[in-house]
Each structure stands twice: as structure tokens, then as C-alpha cells.
């Protein structure tokens, strides 16, 4: 059959549809794209609030070159990556154990499930202060460049594991009990049941938890700001804290914007990678 030419009425309807979508698109552009473009534009200029006599000349990629040459930037990137890797893997393992435990039926299960959320519900700044007071009493931890990571990673694990556990628990509850019954009849040991039934079916939930936690760990700010201030020296300074210092403390808007853009690119790449992984995980995870 030959295709029908769109009639006037249909065209009008299409126009109406675009008109109705326009406000939403405009809002998205305004709140997502505008600040981002502004930041990129700012990052191409020398803009130092404290040195207005330098003006705001266009400097091309000079700010980026300076960032990439700065040892403190690479240190901060390494700290962030190391913090994310260490805390997220701990949280995943512990969260998985907790979720498995909570998935069983036992007396007082509701109470346990509720109380496990307490660390997660405490505001980060408050939790960080509590951990700082605890470790300030112990000589040597906060003043040692390696030792200072212990309270940081402990505090983050303590605080974020419940979130991971809850996500994984939801995943566990979606698994059909009949599968375990079948596995038992086939004589599978608990370990083999976990390895070949639970883990593959839990993969989507694990991936979701992984995405949330890695992205958040990459942007870690308040916990370290309060707990170690990035010290001793800059031994525990993550990239978000370095950016904050450049922007809000030194008021170097151009340089700080270049940092922000780089952080955005890295997080964006991470997100893309995870989304592809998640897409695959979701399709393969289905039996």
C-alpha cells in the first residue's frame, strides 16, 4: 500500500504535541544544560575573583593544562579512585552478607531490618563528627598519611552498607524459592546454590548498588571534609574537596570550573560504562 501523505489535521496535531512538550524541554535545557555550558565557558577563561585587575580574558585550554600539570590534582584523583574502590567493595561484601541474613525468617526480623538502617539515616556530617571524635582520642591515626584512611573508609562503610544491604535484600526477595527447592533436590550444596542460583539472579541488584555507590563515592565530600579535612597534608584529599577549595576558598572560578568539567567527564564516563554493563547484566540475568 502506498504511504498516505500527512494531512493538515495530523500536522496540526504534531505541532500541538511539540508545543506541549516544549516547556518540559526548555526546563531541562535551563536546569541541566545551561549551568553545564556556563561552567565549560567559565573554564576557558581566567577568572580569579580575588585578582580583578587580571580581568577575565579568554585563555583557551590553559586552565586544563594547568590542572593536568598539577600534582595535587593527580593525587586527589588517585585518592578518590582508591577510596571508591576500597569502600565500595567492602560495602558490597558486607551488604551481601547482611542481606542474606535478613532474608531468612527469624523472630524480630522486622526490628532488625529497621534498626540496620540507622547509620544510613544519620546525616553524614554528624556521623563524620562522631568518627572524628573517636579517632582524635586515639594517638596517631588522623596524623598519619596512611592511617587517616582507616577512619575514612570505616566511617563510609559503616554508613553506606545498610543502603547496599537493602538494595540486595530487595533483589533476593525477587528470586523464586522454587529454584532453591529444585537445587536442593539436585543435591546442590549451600555454596553451589549461592554461586549458581543466588549470584546470577542477584546480578542486576548488585549492579544497581554498584552504580549508586561508585558514583557517590567518586563525589565524596562532606565525610572527608569533616573527618580529616583532606589531611594530613593532602594525603586524603578527594577531587571534590580539591575543587571546592579552588572554587570557594581561593575563588579561582576559571580553574575551579576546569576541574569541575574534568570531574564531570570522568563521572559521565563511569556512568556510561555502568549503564552498558547494566543493560547486558539485565538481559543476561533473566533466566
Amino acid at each position: 500500500m502506498p504511504s498516505v501523505e500527512p494531512r493538515g489535521a495530523e500536522r496540526r496535531e504534531a505541532r500541538l504535541a511539540y508545543g506541549m512538550v516544549a516547556p518540559a524541554v526548555a526546563t531541562i535545557l535551563l536546569i541541566a544544560l545551561f549551568p553545564l555550558t556556563w561552567t565549560v565557558w567559565e573554564s576557558l577563561h581566567l577568572h580569579d575573583l580575588r585578582m580583578p585587575w587580571l580581568g577575565q580574558p579568554f585563555v583557551g585550554l590553559e586552565n586544563y593544562v594547568e590542572v593536568l600539570r598539577e600534582r595535587r590534582f593527580w593525587g586527589a584523583m588517585a585518592h578518590t579512585a582508591w577510596f571508591a574502590a576500597a569502600s565500595v567493595s567492602l560495602e558490597l561484601v558486607l551488604g551481601c552478607v547482611l542481606a542474606l541474613a535478613m532474608n531468612r525468617t527469624f523472630r524480630g526480623r522486622a526490628l532488625v531490618r529497621a534498626s540496620i538502617l540507622i547509620p544510613w539515616a544519620i546525616p553524614t556530617v554528624v556521623a563524620a563528627l562522631v568518627w572524628r571524635f573517636m579517632f582524635e582520642g586515639l594517638e596517631g591515626w588522623l596524623t598519619d598519611d596512611l592511617g587517616a584512611w582507616l577512619p575514612v573508609i570505616l566511617a563510609d562503610t559503616w554508613k553506606e552498607t545498610p543502603f547496599v544491604a537493602l538494595l540486595l535484600l530487595a533483589g533476593l526477595q525477587g528470586i523464586d524459592p522454587a529454584l532453591y527447592e529444585a537445587a536442593r533436590i539436585d543435591g546442590a550444596s549451600p555454596w553451589r546454590q549461592f554461586r549458581y542460583v543466588t549470584l546470577p539472579l542477584l546480578a542486576p541488584a548488585i549492579l544497581v548498588a554498584l552504580i549508586f555507590r561508585t558514583m557517590n563515592a567518586f563525589r565524596v565530600f562532606d565525610l572527608i571534609y569533616v573527618l580529616t579535612g583532606g589531611g594530613p597534608g593532602t594525603a586524603t584529599e578527594p577531587i571534590a574537596l580539591y575543587t571546592f577549595n579552588s572554587l570557594m576558598h581561593n575563588l579561582r572560578f576559571g580553574y575551579g570550573s576546569a576541574l569541575s568539567v574534568l570531574v564531570f567527564l570522568v563521572t559521565f564516563a563511569l556512568a556510561l560504562g555502568y549503564i552498558r554493563l547494566l543493560g547486558r547484566g539485565l538481559t543476561e540475568g533473566r533466566p
Binding site: R50, M51, W53, E139, G229, T234, L251
Partner: protein
């Protein structure tokens, strides 16, 4: 904490501040500064008195945060937006050159201030390119607090201090020899400056960084070795002003480096275990240097965009008059910036420590480098000092790295060796 939120909040506070400005009848002058506690009360009282004596000028107080960093950010945002209020700013000495170079505060020479009446160091710190930009209001200096029941006299040199403190610590009572501000912040730089002066060094000479030269290395090595030998506890590396004060006040430390504010609370026997058992002295000196105190305190400057500069000057002139300084010394224990006030017998009753002692310490005060990029230089130095003290780097290596980064910054903004490009 959400940094962006903070920023915007302060921006709004600033905008509201501008909007509330009204002009009718007498000229209105707004003063911004500390409004908390006794300091806020005395400022209010002094401004009310000024109001009564001057029918043509009305004075209003504009509160600003007490934390120096936050107040600085707020000022920068206001002035960068060319706000005409507040007319008078309470500034730290280290901000004066920065604001002056930006054209944000007015040169005061046109009002012919009597600069000879003030301690030279307080005037020197507020000059930028030969002109005076702020009038010193009160002085803060680093001092050595020592226990009169543990030592017959205060240690005059670092060797003497180490020897005496080690003896005390060996007995275990008190636990700590010397305590100071060792966290990675501005306070650490002021402590270092005092050790540095004690060994005859300087951070900056003209546009040239000299902090990594032998006196600097000796100063930082002394600090590091004191931590290593237990004279100074390693935990000072997370301490600001209040933690050392609590340690000293509870009798846990034999010696402390702190600002004058600590005298009054520690003389209150209800909360202090060392009331009546301590005194203050200049910080010790090492070989080739002299007793040094870091110069801090508050100055008053006039907003560069105010249309009421004349009236603002009258208020500043009033607040920095000898009588008002004497009252501040009596109520909040702040040291006057005018030398003549120290000759006034009334000061002996007003200050909690002998005025001759206070004067001796003020005269040993040195300003931090007078440059518009001071806070950025300081940040670089703070990081490297902290690295050396937390055993991540050797003092010489840390200072070399600090020096090269500081020099690169100065050269980049045209304030380096080649001369001064700022107008």
C-alpha cells in the same frame, strides 16, 4: 554540606543587605564585623555612643560570620558585586593588600590619619604600595603561656624549652610539654612564622620566596623534632585554638602557644585548673634570630564603593580613639594598637596581664607577607608544613616544594621577582 548552596545563600544575604539600604535624613553608615558575645555588645555600645554625639550620622551594625574564612568569602562576593554596603569593614591584616590591590577599599591617606601614634608593625601590615588602606583596631599576637608552678622563669630559647619540657614530660605530669595550633589551616602558618623569626628567617623578601633557606629548614626541623621527641604531642596536628587551650586549662600541658584571648577564660577558677598559676612571655628564639610574635588582629577599612566615605572615616576615627581602645581592652582583653594607650595607667587595670609584658610581645610582632595573594601562598605553605610534621616529607624537601610552588604563583600573577605589576 552543599558548597553551592552555601555560596548562593551568602549571595542572597548580600543582595538583601543591599536592598535594605534607605537614604533619608542623616547619613547612614553600616559597620560589619563580629557581633557575637561580649565583642558584639561592646561594639554596639560604642556605636550608640557615637550616634548620640553625632546628630548627622546614623550607624548601623551589619552582622557577618565570625569564622574568618566565611567572612572573607562574604566580603569578596559583596565587593566583587560593587555593593555600597557595608561602608566599614572589619578586616584581617592579611586581607588588606588583597582588597587594596582589587580597588575594593579606599586609601586612607586623604584623611590624614595619625600613623605615628600606632605600633609600626600594625601600620606596615596595612600598607599596600605605599598607601595606608586600613586602620589597626586591636592587636592579636602569638604568646607563650607558661606554668609558674612548674618553671622558675619562661624558657628564652628553643633549646632551653626542649630541655625543660622533656624533664616535665618524663615525670608524666603534665602529659604534654608544649602545645600549639598544628592543624592544616592559617593558625599553623602563624606558629611557623614565630619559629621562623626565632631563627632569623622570613617567608618572603620582596617578590622572592625565602622560606626554604637555612633558617626556614631549621625552624621546621625544630618543630618536627619536638613532635618526634614527645615535647609536642603529635595530636596537635589536628588542633586549632581551642584544643590547646583546653589542654593547658586542664593542667595537661606545661606550655602553650596561643593568642591573648585565652588569658581571660583561663583565669576563671570555676572552669580553669591553672587559674593564678600561669603567665605569658614572648615565644622563644633560636640561633641567629629574635623573639617573634605573629601579628594578627582586626583593622577597619572603608568600602571602595561607598558614597559616604567621609562619614565612614568619622566612625573609624571614633572607634580607634584611645578611650574606645581602653574600653575594649577592659571588656574583651584586646590589646590596643596605639602606643600611647600602653603608657596610660588605666591599662594596667584593664588588661589581664601586665601592660609592659603585652607591649614587649606586640613590639616583637611581625606581619605575615604583605601581598594580595597571601591566602593562596599560605595554603601552599600549610600543606607542605603539615606534610613535614606528619612525617610525609623531610623539612628541607617540603619547604623546597612549597617555595617553588609559591614562586610560580607569584610569577604568574606578576608579583614575583620581576617587580610589581599591580596598580
Amino acid at each position: 554540606m552543599i558548597p553551592g548552596f552555601h555560596f548562593r545563600l551568602m549571595l542572597w544575604v548580600g543582595l538583601l543587605g543591599c536592598a535594605s539600604e534607605t537614604r533619608s535624613g542623616p547619613t547612614t553608615v553600616t559597620v560589619s564585623g563580629s557581633v557575637l558575645g561580649a565583642e558584639g555588645q561592646i561594639l554596639r555600645r560604642q556605636l550608640e555612643r557615637f550616634d548620640r554625639e553625632h546628630r548627622d550620622i546614623r550607624v548601623e551594625m551589619q552582622p557577618t560570620p565570625d569564622a574568618a574564612d566565611l567572612r572573607h568569602q562574604l566580603y569578596v562576593q559583596w565587593l566583587n558585586a560593587r555593593a555600597t554596603d557595608p561602608d566599614i569593614l572589619q578586616v584581617d591584616a592579611i586581607w588588606t593588600p588583597e582588597f587594596a590591590a582589587a580597588g575594593w577599599i579606599l586609601p586612607l591617606d586623604r584623611f590624614a590619619p595619625d600613623t605615628a601614634a600606632f605600633f609600626p608593625v600594625t601600620i606596615e601590615a596595612n600598607r599596600w604600595q605605599g598607601e595606608l588602606f586600613a586602620l589597626p583596631w586591636f592587636v592579636d599576637v602569638g604568646m607563650l603561656y607558661w606554668r609558674t608552678d612548674l618553671f622558675p622563669k619562661p624558657p628564652g630559647t628553643w633549646e632551653e624549652l626542649d630541655r625543660e619540657a622533656r624533664k616535665v614530660v618524663a615525670d608524666g605530669s603534665p602529659r604534654y610539654g608544649l602545645v600549639w595550633q598544628g592543624a592544616r589551616y592559617e593558625g599553623l602558618v602563624t606558629v611557623f612564622l614565630e619559629y621562623l623569626g626565632g631563627f632569623g628567617g622570613r617567608i618572603l623578601e620582596g617578590g622572592r620566596v625565602t622560606v626554604h633557606e637555612p633558617p626556614g629548614v631549621r625552624a621546621l626541623t625544630t618543630m618536627r623534632d619536638q613532635i618526634r621527641s614527645g615535647v609536642v604531642p603529635a595530636r596537635v596536628l589536628t588542633w586549632h585554638e581551642e584544643e590547646p587551650r583546653f589542654a593547658f586549662q586542664n593542667g595537661e600541658a606545661a606550655l602553650m602557644r596561643n593568642w591573648p584571648y585565652a588569658v581571660a577564660p583561663m583565669q576563671d577558677s570555676a572552669s580553669s585548673r591553672v587559674a593564678g598559676r600561669f603567665a605569658v612571655a614572648p615565644m622563644p628564639a633560636g640561633a641567629g634570630g629574635r623573639h617573634t610574635a605573629a601579628f594578627g588582629g582586626a583593622q577597619l577599612a572603608i568600602n571602595g564603593f561607598t558614597p559616604e566615605a567621609g562619614a565612614a572615616w568619622q566612625v573609624i576615627d571614633y572607634l580607634t580613639s584611645p578611650e574606645q581602645m581602653l574600653e575594649r581592652a577592659r571588656v574583651v582583653g584586646q590589646f590596643p594598637t596605639r602606643t600611647a594607650v600602653f603608657d596610660d595607667p588605666a591599662l594596667a587595670q584593664a588588661l589581664p596581664i601586665p601592660p609592659a609584658r603585652a607591649r614587649q610581645i606586640v613590639e616583637a610582632a611581625v606581619p605575615r607577607p604583605v601581598t594580595p595573594v597571601y591566602t593562596q601562598l599560605s595554603e601552599i605553605l600549610q600543606i607542605q608544613l603539615h606534610r613535614a610534621l606528619s612525617r610525609q616529607a623531610e623539612p628541607a624537601a617540603a619547604l623546597s616544594r612549597a617555595a617553588s610552588e609559591m614562586q610560580a604563583l607569584l610569577d604568574r600573577v606578576g608579583l614575583g621577582r620581576g617587580g610589581v605589576a599591580v596598580r
